[in-house]
Amino acid sequence: MSTLHTVNKSPFETSTLKSCLEHVSDGDTILLIEDGVYGAMAGSSMADLVTAKTKAVSIIALAPDMQARGIDEDRLIKGINTTDYAGFVDLAAKNDLSHAWL
């Protein structure tokens, strides 16, 4: 059983991403969407916390939301991949459960 977690808020605005990171299980996926994509950026105060989790869970950023915000792929934390809406749908189908962190 694996869960797709979605986080849509910037980790500098709310503690939602932090809370999500504290409640994921090994093998889960976290998809950062909307303002959540800011949590994928390297060099931020959140980067270490996020990087530490990339071994246990798959962390992915939604590319359309990154592009909207002018975030290039090369600015992402190493180990974070990107996907599009088609990929988002695939992730939702592939994982047994969807958990939106609001």
């Binding site: 503690s15 504290e22 409640h23 889960d28 459960l97 958990h99 939106a100 962190w101 609001l102």
Partner: protein, 143 residues
């Protein structure tokens, strides 16, 4: 019966309602509770999770007279009668907010399999147990 109705009458899923927001400053706590109450009629396996600021929803002594909004905290006491008996409160979230179990309402349910003995609905669990609870659901509703 139509296929939808048949499937409805045969399916029991594990529903988890996730509450992470404080009451009154926003409507999420109230409208989440409204879903729980309506949902009770559907005979699913329901659990409620209270973590982060969601733990504030269950505190005692809420008096909303001076802000003019309805005090809906008494409604949590009715959950037992609706057979919603599993309210999981996260230990770390309480501690981070300087709260203890004593700050929370005493919510009970009557176990008809045990001579209607009153049992506590609030179960305080730690973060690891909360993560496990979340992982083992069929549907997660966040508000």
């Amino acid at each position: 019966m139509a296929i939808r109705e048949i499937k409805m009458s045969e399916t029991v899923k594990k529903f988890l309602y996730v509450n992470r927001k404080a009451p009154y400053g926003t409507i999420y706590a109230l409208e989440s509770l409204e879903v729980v109450l309506i949902g009770a009629a559907f005979d699913q396996d329901v659990s409620l999770a209270f973590l982060d600021d969601g733990v504030f929803q269950l505190t005692k002594g809420q008096d909303t007279k001076e802000i003019g909004v309805k005090n809906f905290s008494p409604t949590y006491r009715a959950l037992g009668d609706y057979e919603v008996t599993k309210l999981y409160v996260e230990k770390e979230s309480l501690a981070e907010r300087g709260l203890s179990a004593d700050d929370l309402q005493e919510l009970v349910w009557e176990d008809e399999d045990d001579d209607y003995a009153e049992k506590p609905s609030i179960r305080i669990i730690d973060r690891t147990e909360m993560a496990k609870l979340m992982a083992n659901q069929d549907v997660v509703l966040s508000f």
